[in-house]
Amino acid sequence: MNTKHLAVRAVAALAAATMAIGLAACGSTDAQSGAGGSSSTEILFGGDNGSPTFTKNFNPFSSSKRTGINFIYEPLMVVNSIDGTEKPFLATSHKIVNPKTVEYTIRSGVKWSDGQAFSADDVVYTFNLLKTNSALDTLGVWQHIASISASGDTVTFNLKDNDVPAVKIIDQQLIVPQHIWKSVKDPVKDTNATPVGTGPYKLGTYTPNQYTLTKNASYWQAGKVAATSIVFPASNKALDMVNKGYDWGYMYMNDVQKTWVGADKQHNHYWFPPGGTVSLFPNLTKTPYNNVNFRLGLSNAIDRAAIAKDAEEGYVDASTQTGLLLPNQKSWVNSSIPNSGVVKQSKTTALKYFAKAGYTEKGGKLVDSTGKQLTLTVTVPSGYSDWLRGIETLQTQLSAIGISVKLNQPQPAAYTQALNNGDYDLIVASFGGTGDVYTDYSNLLNGEFYQPVGTAASANFERYKNSTTDSLLAQLKATSSTTEQKEIVNQLQEVVYNQVPVVGMFYGGLWGLYSTKKFTGWPTEKNPYASPSTWTSQVLMVVTNLKKA
């Protein structure tokens, strides 16, 4: 009897104590909930996710760096991945002397955030650092550069081949100070706890749950930087982004109109431009996928708009079958290809091509010469729910013309392995979106990347090989004339449109969210001066373009 009472009393006391602590704590730590603070010159940024807390790594070359380094270090030029335009930062201009030589003029009067002067020597030092530590060379600049030299404020790059697209790769290299990095013992493992850069921001406070970047007062274009600080919380759940009033974020939100815009109709906006073409990659080393009529059949059998709508809630469009991202790359469109290359679903056309490939309709089923139903296995990474939704729609569409579709959903790492090794029949993957039309087509089609099935490829996963296409790519790589480039890109579009190396389905979006409550001047559909991605140097263009609201 007594014990029961004792137990009950103990529980009651415990509950009371818990509540008391909770209430007491409520009063004392309420301030933390407003992680963004109320200062109107501060950006609350949801673009760096801790797991769940941050590990302090400001090494700009590391694969697990904090994305804040993109506000601290600057490249020679920032390339807008939407349309490929370049904006000068640490270089004022570049000149393509010939397709094998490019000269950069380095900006004068720039200082490192510790007060020391920046010079062309720092540029040469950085590139040589990457040469000696190839693990740091994330852009692969030394796959293009033969040698580098500086004289005065001019840095000259000699390239290995006629290689005009290399310029946009060299552009994007973040430059680090020689006077600091020369004494770093192991630049691959160094975590660069006190980053010194030329950029608009410096590291302010740092805790495992949140760090702050503060404005670099001696920045060379400090007058253009409106926000005095940027706050990076480690936890950026969708509910937090909405409730705590984030100014800038990157996230796929379900029903964005209601969840994000609805939270503050006046200020909250989103911009979801295409960032890549999500496609069905057929394994071109296998039958029937090596048959162009079979691929054309597939391409005509699907309703891309319906797939796009189901996959991404209508935020993105059906893709073209030319390999271009529209509207980003609209200036490249080959006008002789009907409907900008967007293929309309047509059962009759599809059946015509399938018949040419040896598959005929019989009793509602598409069968081969032995009477066996055509069965496709599509590999899609598990956990990519949007892609999966799209593929389920594709499954329904194909079964309507008598094709049975099976899904194979490995873990992301196993998926990447299957993609690299060519261990699939049809696989969902994305291509393009680098901002450079040559790089996009080369990664998709270049025979240079061709690897037999079983050996890991680093691009050209569908294993396409065509000497005519290779020579087109080589010509595109060597020319700096816009007219010639346009002509070659026209032909490359025809290659993708007619040979269907991959079946484009819909655009993978870049899920940019922003609020105009404190700042205006964000990149938008009407003013696409930068992509809404939050992990590249393009953030420099954004922070130098924002104005106080």
Partner: protein, 326 residues
């Protein structure tokens, strides 16, 4: 003595087996750490062939044949050297584990012990008053709450108490702007952050202790020695605690040992929901990123603590129940 020697021998054998399985398992997963890193990066944008090459060079791949790797691994385990994490390159595994472990130990450990004590006491009381209103409500609510999936309850608490009522913080183990230290204000803040996750674990784990204890106790209450003790006119409380509860406790103690050993594994889903920086979260991150060194260290730590906890329970059993010693 033979009883204890046998237990020690068995412990060492299982320990070796666990260490070996721990070596084999991660290597049987498809895909490499670089594949995992690339899969993660490609969600954000195109991964160029150059980025792949650089990531592979940074992470490196295990060298030597599997046997050499195994010997190297045993040597590292003995020296508690778990190497560098792939997903948090270049942080060492030991530093990651030592940052996450205290959070899990304090949160999940305290709540587990609390839950065991409260649950056992409640169970014993309910059995003693079986058939009463207390027993009936207790039984029903125990089964009700233990059937709650912890992550679902976590989401409910998070949404209603965190976002709607704004009474509790919604993520993390401490305020965004503070750095872990031992000051009074930090400890209060940490306690405040631990209420929702703690409550989730407590509510969902309490039921099994209550029911386990209640059912065992009802069995022992029917035994002759309890009737005998009562007939002897012993104090009710003495009969309940010294006679019935002590014997009913044994099976519960075994499961307590197991659960306590599992505490270091954290509470994966609950930690995930609350972004709590504990071992469960670290483990999730290690597995999704194919982070072999981190995974091995965590699995090893979890297995070893379960084994040690079991071993201690075995030894304790010998003390509590003299019959097992024979």
């Amino acid at each position: 003595m033979r009883y204890y020697l046998g237990k020690i021998g068995l412990f060492l054998l299982t320990l070796w087996a666990a260490i070996t399985v721990n070596f084999l398992l991660p290597r049987m997963m498809p895909g490499s750490p670089a594949d995992a890193a690339i899969a993660k990066l490609s969600q954000n944008g195109p991964v160029t062939p150059e980025m792949r090459a650089s990531i592979e060079a940074q992470l490196g791949v295990p060298t030597g044949n599997p046997f050499q790797q195994y010997i190297q691994y045993l040597n590292d385990v003995v020296h508690l050297n778990f190497g560098i994490s792939y997903s948090n390159f270049p942080q060492s595994v030991s530093s990651l584990v030592s940052t996450a472990l205290p959070w899990t130990l304090v949160l999940v450990g305290t709540v587990t012990i609390l839950s065991f004590i409260i649950g056992t006491m409640l169970g014993a009381a309910m059995a003693w008053k079986r058939g009463s209103l207390v027993d009936a409500t207790g039984s029903v609510s125990s089964s009700f709450f233990s059937a709650f999936p912890p992550f679902w309850l976590a989401l409910l608490l998070l949404f209603f108490l965190g976002y709607v009522a704004k009474a509790f913080p919604t993520s993390g183990a401490y305020a965004a702007t503070s750095v872990p230290n031992l000051s009074w204000s930090f400890l209060v803040d940490a306690l405040y952050h631990s209420i929702l996750p703690g409550l989730t674990i407590l509510i969902t784990s309490l039921g099994s202790w209550v029911m386990g204890m209640r059912n065992n106790m009802i069995n022992t209450l029917g035994d002759d020695y309890v009737t005998f003790a009562e007939a002897n006119g012993l104090h009710q409380r003495t009969v309940m605690l010294r006679y019935a509860a002590r014997n009913a406790l044994l099976p519960n103690l075994t499961s307590f040992g197991l659960v306590l050993g599992g505490v270091v594994g954290g509470s994966l889903l609950v930690e995930q929901v609350f972004s709590y920086p504990g071992i469960g979260m670290l483990l999730f991150q290690a597995v999704t990123n194919q982070d072999y060194p981190l995974m091995q260290a965590l699995f090893l730590m979890i297995t070893v603590s379960v084994l040690v906890a079991n071993f201690i329970v075995d030894i304790l059993y010998g003390v509590l129940d003299p019959r097992t010693r024979r």
